[in-house]
C-alpha cells in the first residue's frame, strides 16, 4: 500500500510538471507595456472595453522591463503578448525575425502620419517581402539630457562643458559622467551638432533599406568635426576637473551629494528616480546637454573646423512604439489595430504624461506639457524633465536601425569600445592583428574612427587601413 501511495505521488508530481504549460485564453488581447505604465494602460483599456461593447475582447496588460523585452520576444514570440511596446530601434530586429506583424488599418496609418514628426516616420517602417509596411506606432518620446547638482552648479554653468568644469574645479571634483559607455549612452559626443546651424558630418545608416538585397545606407564617422570633437573630449577627459567614466559603484554613486564624484551626468528619464535619490529632489537640476567650444589643439591640422566653433552634445531622440505580434491570431487583428489607434491618440498620450510622466511622442506636445505646468498638474522638475526631452529632440536623430543586422552591427561589434579607447587614449586590437599603440595623434584618431565606421558597415574590424585617411569604407 505504501508503495502504491509512493507511485501515485510520483505520478502526481510528473503530471503537475507537465501541466504547467497553459493555453492562450480566447477572447483576451494580451498587452505588454513598460512596468511603470502597466497600471495606467490597464485602466485605460478597461475604460475602452466598457465604452465599446462591440469590441469583443477583454485586455490584459502586463508590465515588462523595457530594456529586455525585445530579447524576450525574439527568444519565443509564440509566448509573447498580442500587442507589445518596445523602443523603435528594435523594430528592424523584430520585423526581420518575424516577431511583428505589419499595420494596415488606414485610419491608424493616417493618424500616425498626421501626429508624428518626420524623423520618427523614417524609422517606424520596415519591409516584408519587399513591400514597405508600418510596424511601430509611436506613443512615448525619449532622449538623453543633463542632470546636475544645483547646489554646486549654477544654471548658467550647466549650459556648457566649460562652465561645468569651472564648477567642478571650485568643488574639487570631476565635471560630468555618463550612465554607460555603450553606443547609446555615449551618443552625446558622436552626435554633437554645431550650434549655429545644427550641422554634423556623422551619418549612421542614412537611407538604409530593409528590402531583400537592400542597402545599409550611408555612414560617416571620419569627418573633421568628429575628429576635432574626440580630440576635444580627450583633453576634457584628461583634465582633473573634466569628464570621467562612471565609477565601479555606478554613476549614481558618483553623483551622490555625499561622494561628490561628479557634478553632472548625461542620462534619460528612466534615470530620474535614481538621480533624485543621489542628489535629493531640490538639488536636482535638469538641462539640455551642454555646449562645448573647440580649442586650437582640437582643430590643429583639420580643415573642416575652426577653433571657437561651438557644438552642443547630441542624443538619440527615440520613441517607444506599439507593435503587433506576428503570432497573434488573425481574428484579433482588426481589434488590435483599433485598440492601438485609441492608445496612441493624443488624448491618451496626454493622460499618460499627466499620470505616468511619459513624454508624448506627437508633434507639438510641448504646448500641452507647458499647459500642464501652468495648471499645476505637474511639478517644476516633472515639467523640466519633459520639456528638456522635447528640446533635446531638436539636437538628436532617432536610431536609424530598420534591419536587425544594422542594429547588431552598431551595438555588438566593438565600435563603442573603440570610441572609448579614443577617449582614454588607449590601444585597441583589430582583426588584422594590428595593435594600434596610440590613439593620441591625429593619425591614430583617424584610424580608430575609420575602424568604427567599418564596424558599422561590415560588422567586423578592417584587416588593414588605407594609406590615406579619411577614406570611405
Amino acid at each position: 500500500m505504501k508503495k502504491l501511495i509512493v507511485v501515485l505521488l510520483a505520478l502526481m508530481m510528473v503530471t503537475a510538471m507537465f501541466t504547467g504549460c497553459g493555453t492562450k485564453e480566447k477572447g483576451v488581447i494580451r498587452m505588454w507595456v513598460g512596468e511603470e505604465s502597466a497600471e495606467f494602460y490597464q485602466k485605460v483599456c478597461d475604460e475602452y472595453v466598457a465604452a465599446n461593447p462591440d469590441f469583443g475582447y477583454t485586455v490584459e496588460v502586463k508590465g515588462m522591463d523595457t530594456g529586455s523585452v525585445a530579447g524576450t520576444i525574439t527568444n519565443d514570440p509564440t509566448a509573447a503578448a498580442d500587442i507589445y511596446t518596445v523602443a523603435h530601434d528594435n523594430i528592424g530586429k523584430l520585423a526581420s525575425t518575424q516577431c511583428a506583424k505589419p499595420i494596415t488599418d488606414e485610419a491608424l496609418i493616417a493618424q500616425v502620419i498626421a501626429d508624428n514628426p518626420a524623423s520618427y516616420q523614417q524609422v517606424i517602417y520596415s519591409n516584408l517581402n519587399d513591400v514597405k509596411y508600418l510596424y511601430g506606432v509611436p506613443y512615448i518620446s525619449q532622449a538623453l539630457f543633463l542632470y546636475y547638482n544645483k547646489a554646486l552648479v549654477t544654471d548658467e554653468q550647466a549650459q556648457s562643458f566649460e562652465g561645468l568644469r569651472e564648477a567642478a574645479k571650485a568643488a574639487g571634483t570631476k565635471a560630468i559622467t555618463v550612465t554607460g559607455d555603450d553606443g547609446f549612452n555615449m551618443s552625446f559626443a558622436l552626435l554633437a551638432q554645431k550650434v549655429t546651424d545644427h550641422s554634423t558630418t556623422v551619418k549612421i545608416y542614412e537611407g538604409a533599406d530593409s528590402a531583400s538585397g537592400g542597402s545599409k545606407g550611408e555612414s560617416n564617422c571620419q569627418g573633421d568635426d568628429t575628429v576635432a570633437i574626440y580630440r576635444w573630449l580627450q583633453a576634457y577627459a584628461a583634465d582633473p576637473n573634466g569628464f570621467k567614466w562612471a565609477s565601479s559603484d555606478g554613476w549614481h554613486a558618483d553623483l551622490d551629494k555625499n561622494n561628490l564624484g561628479v557634478l553632472a551626468v548625461i542620462g534619460g528619464a528612466w534615470h530620474y528616480k535614481t538621480a533624485a535619490a543621489s542628489l535629493g529632489e531640490t538639488n536636482l537640476g535638469i538641462a539640455l546637454i551642454p555646449t562645448f567650444t573647440l580649442t586650437e589643439e582640437a582643430c590643429e591640422g583639420l580643415t573642416g573646423v575652426a577653433a571657437g566653433d561651438v557644438y552642443r552634445g547630441g542624443t538619440f531622440a527615440d520613441c517607444k512604439c506599439f507593435m503587433i505580434n506576428a503570432h497573434s491570431e488573425p481574428s484579433k487583428y482588426a481589434s488590435e489595430q483599433q485598440l492601438i489607434k485609441y492608445l496612441s491618440s493624443k488624448e491618451i498620450q496626454n493622460r499618460s504624461y499627466v499620470e505616468c510622466l511619459n513624454v508624448p511622442a506627437y508633434t507639438g506636445s510641448a504646448e500641452f506639457i507647458k499647459q500642464c505646468f501652468d495648471e499645476g498638474k505637474v511639478t517644476e522638475s516633472q515639467y523640466n524633465l519633459a520639456i528638456t526631452q522635447v528640446g533635446m529632440a531638436e539636437w538628436g536623430i532617432p536610431q536609424p536601425f530598420i534591419t536587425g543586422t544594422l542594429n547588431t552591427y552598431y551595438y555588438s561589434k566593438n565600435a563603442p569600445s573603440v570610441l572609448r579607447a579614443i577617449v582614454d587614449k588607449s590601444a585597441y586590437p583589430t582583426t588584422g592583428d594590428i595593435i594600434l599603440t596610440e590613439t593620441e595623434s591625429l593619425e591614430g584618431i583617424r584610424k580608430a574612427l575609420y575602424m568604427v565606421e567599418y564596424l558599422w558597415m561590415h560588422g567586423q574590424s578592417p584587416k588593414d587601413f588605407p594609406a590615406n585617411l579619411p577614406d570611405k569604407a
Partner: protein, 599 residues
C-alpha cells in the same frame, strides 16, 4: 622483466573522446592499433601500413576488411576460450549504417577493442567490462531469441505483442501492439506544432535544407505565415530520434517478453499474467517503477536540452556574422565554430583566438587557488575550533556558519561595495593619506590592475568558501576513530606526527571527492567572478576581461552578443576539460580505488 603484451589495450570511452577532441585524427591512430592487434592475434609480424592505407584510400576495401576481420577476431578469441562480440555480419551492418551516420563507425571499433581488452594479459589487472559489451550482447540475444523462440516470438519481430498474444497474455500483447501502432502513426502522420512537424519529416528537416523564409502576409485578414523555425526543426528531429530509440527498445522488450514466456513454458511454468506483472512492479521490480519517471524527466529536461545545445555548436544559430533571422533560419556549418578557436575567423573568432588561452589559463589558476585556499583554510579553521580546551567552540562555529546562512550573492555584493571607489576601504586609505586616489581593487575600470583584481577575487572567495570546508571537516574530525590516536600515543608519536600521519590522511581520504567537485565547481564559479569584478578589468575590443572565467565569458558571448553557437563551443570545451580532469583525478584517487578501506 615483464613480457610486453603484443595486444594494445585501450579504454574505449577515452579513445572515442580523444577522437572527438582531435577532430578525428586519433580515430585513425586507433584504427591502426586495431589493424595491428588483428595481425598480432594471427601471429603476423609484417608491417600493417599497407593494409591501413588500403582501408583509408580504397573505397570498397573497408567492407571486406571489417567483415573478414570480424569473423577472424571471433574465431581467434574463441580459440583462446574468450567470448567475442565481434562478428563479420554485425560489422557489415554497422559499416553500412555508418555510411548514413558516420559516427556509427565507433561502434564496431569499440566492439573490436572491447574484445581485445577482454584477452588475458601478462601484466594485466582484472579487466573491466566496456561500454560496447552490452551492445554485442544485444545483437547476440536477438539472434538467439529468433532461432530458439516459438512461432509467436518469431512473429513478434514484426508485430509487437504477437508473442504475448500467442501465449495468451492478451493485455500485455495489446499494449505492445497499441504502442507499435501509435509510434508508426506518429512517424507517418507527422503531427506538427507551430508548423514544424515530428515524425519522418522531422528526420528530413534535420538537414536544415529547403527552409522557407515565410513572412507571407495577408493584409485583409491579418494572417501571417512565419516560415521555418530551425530551432524547432532540430529539437523535433532529436525527439523523433528518441522516439525511434524507444521503438527499438520496445521491439526488443516485446521479443524478450515472448521469449521469456517460451522459456517458462519449456520448464513447465505458466507464463505470468498481466496482474502478476503489475504486482511485480510494486514488488521485486519496484526500482523500475520508481526510476522510470525520473529517467523520463532526466531525458526530457536534461538530456534533450543538452543534446540540443551541443547541436547548436555545429550551426550558424544567431551568428553575429549572419544576417537578420539568425534565431529561426540557420544551417549546419560543421566544425567551423570550433575551428575559429584556431583560425580567428569571423568577428567572434578574433575574440576566441586571442582570448581563449588567456581565459583558460586564468580559469585553471583561479580554480587551483580557490580550491586549495578554501580547502586548507577550512581544515585549519576546523582544527583550531576543535582544539581541546578551546572555550566557546559553539559560538565560533555559529559565527562561521552565519556566513553560509547569508546568501552568497549578498556577501559578494557587500564586498564589492566595501572595496568600491567610494567604499569604506578606499575612503579610509585616502583619509589616512596612504593614497590620493581610489584603488581599483576589483578591476572594475579598464585601467585598473589585473593582478590586483585576480588576487582580490581569490581572497574574497576565501571568505565565502572556507566556512563550507570548515563545517565538513569538523564533522570528519569528530568521527576519526579515537583508537587511531590511542595507538599513535602508545607508539610514542608526537602531536605533529599524529596530525600528518592520522588526521590529514584521514581528512584527505574522505574529502577527495569533495575536493574534485570543488575544483570543478570553481572552474564554473560564475557568481564570485560576475558579482565581484564582472570579469574586469576589460580588454579594449574584447568581451573577455582580465578576471573572466570560461563560464562568465560564455555568459557574455551568449547573453550580451547573442552568439549561442560560439557559446556552445566554449561550453563544450569547458565540459571536456572539467570531465577529463574529474575522471582522471577521481579514478586515480584512493577514495575511488580503495573504497571502504582507509588504513
Amino acid at each position: 622483466m615483464a613480457n610486453k603484451d603484443p595486444i594494445n589495450k585501450r579504454r574505449v570511452g577515452i579513445c572515442v573522446l580523444l577522437s572527438f577532441v582531435t577532430l578525428g585524427i586519433y580515430a585513425f591512430y586507433w584504427l591502426y592499433l586495431l589493424v595491428k592487434n588483428v595481425r598480432s592475434l594471427k601471429n603476423d609480424t609484417r608491417s600493417c601500413i599497407g593494409e591501413m592505407l588500403c582501408l583509408i584510400l580504397v573505397p570498397i576495401y573497408p567492407i571486406y576488411w571489417w567483415y573478414t576481420r570480424g569473423n577472424d577476431v571471433k574465431r581467434l578469441l574463441e580459440e583462446r576460450d574468450c567470448q567475442a562480440s565481434s562478428t563479420g555480419s554485425l560489422f557489415l551492418v554497422l559499416l553500412l549504417l555508418s555510411s548514413f551516420i558516420p559516427l556509427v563507425i565507433f561502434i564496431p571499433m569499440g566492439i573490436m577493442q572491447g574484445d581485445f581488452n577482454s584477452l588475458p594479459t601478462a601484466v594485466s589487472k582484472s579487466h573491466k567490462a566496456n561500454f560496447f559489451s552490452p551492445i554485442g550482447k544485444f545483437f547476440r540475444n536477438i539472434g538467439k531469441m529468433f532461432t530458439g523462440g516459438s512461432v509467436g516470438t518469431k512473429l513478434s519481430y514484426f508485430i509487437f505483442g504477437a508473442g504475448n498474444i500467442y501465449h495468451k497474455q492478451y493485455i500485455k500483447g495489446g499494449i505492445f501492439l497499441l504502442l507499435q501502432i501509435a509510434i508508426i502513426l506518429f512517424m507517418v502522420l507527422c503531427p506538427s506544432i507551430n508548423g514544424t512537424p515530428y515524425g519522418y519529416k522531422a528526420l528530413a528537416n534535420l538537414s536544415l535544407k529547403n527552409l522557407s523564409k515565410g513572412g507571407e502576409f495577408d493584409p485583409a485578414t491579418g494572417g501571417m505565415t512565419t516560415g521555418s523555425d530551425c530551432k524547432l526543426m532540430i529539437l523535433f528531429g532529436f525527439v523523433t530520434i528518441a522516439v525511434i530509440v524507444i521503438f527499438v527498445i520496445l521491439w526488443y522488450k516485446n521479443i524478450q517478453s515472448s521469449y521469456k514466456a517460451d522459456m517458462d513454458k519449456k520448464i513447465g511454468k505458466k507464463p505470468t499474467t498481466f496482474k502478476e506483472d503489475l504486482q511485480s512492479l510494486l514488488d521485486q521490480k519496484f526500482h523500475i517503477t520508481m526510476l522510470t519517471p525520473t529517467c523520463i524527466a532526466a531525458l526530457v529536461f536534461t538530456v534533450l536540452p543538452t543534446i540540443f545545445m551541443i547541436a547548436l555548436a555545429f550551426t550558424t544559430y544567431n551568428d553575429p556574422d549572419m544576417n537578420d533571422a539568425g534565431t529561426t533560419l540557420f544551417h549546419w556549418n560543421g566544425v567551423q565554430n570550433f575551428a575559429r578557436v584556431f583560425t580567428g575567423e569571423g568577428s567572434l573568432g578574433f575574440e576566441i583566438k586571442n582570448r581563449f588561452l588567456p581565459v583558460l589559463g586564468w580559469t585553471f589558476i583561479w580554480a587551483i587557488f580557490a580550491t586549495l585556499t578554501c580547502y586548507f583554510g577550512g581544515i585549519i579553521l576546523a582544527l583550531l575550533i576543535n582544539k581541546k580546551g578551546l572555550k566557546g567552540k559553539k559560538i565560533f562555529r555559529t559565527i562561521f556558519i552565519m556566513t553560509i546562512a547569508v546568501p552568497q550573492f549578498i556577501s559578494l555584493l557587500a564586498v564589492r561595495n566595501i572595496l568600491g571607489e567610494f567604499g569604506p576601504v578606499n575612503k579610509m586609505l585616502m583619509d589616512f593619506g596612504w593614497t590620493n586616489h581610489a584603488i581599483g581593487f576589483l578591476g572594475l575600470n579598464p585601467a585598473d590592475s589585473e593582478i590586483l583584481a585576480k588576487v582580490m577575487v581569490i581572497v574574497v572567495n576565501m571568505w565565502v568558501g572556507i566556512p563550507y570546508t570548515m563545517l565538513m571537516t569538523t564533522g570528519i574530525l569528530m568521527n576519526i576513530p579515537a583508537d587511531l590516536y590511542e595507538a599513535g600515543r602508545v607508539d610514542g608519536a608526537s602531536t605533529t606526527k599524529m596530525f600528518f600521519k592520522i588526521t590529514l590522511p584521514y581528512v584527505i581520504f574522505i574529502t577527495t571527492p569533495y575536493l574534485i567537485s570543488s575544483f570543478v565547481g570553481n572552474i564554473n564559479s560564475f557568481n564570485t567572478i560576475y558579482l565581484l569584478t564582472g570579469g574586469g578589468p576589460t580588454h579594449t575590443g574584447y568581451q573577455a576581461g582580465g578576471t573572466d572565467l570560461l563560464v562568465t565569458w560564455l555568459y557574455k558571448v551568449t547573453i550580451d552578443q547573442g552568439a549561442y553557437n560560439t557559446g556552445a563551443v566554449i561550453g563544450i570545451f569547458t565540459f571536456l576539460i572539467t570531465a577529463t580532469i574529474t575522471l582522471i583525478t577521481y579514478r586515480r584517487s584512493k577514495a575511488y580505488n580503495e573504497e571502504d578501506t582507509f588504513q
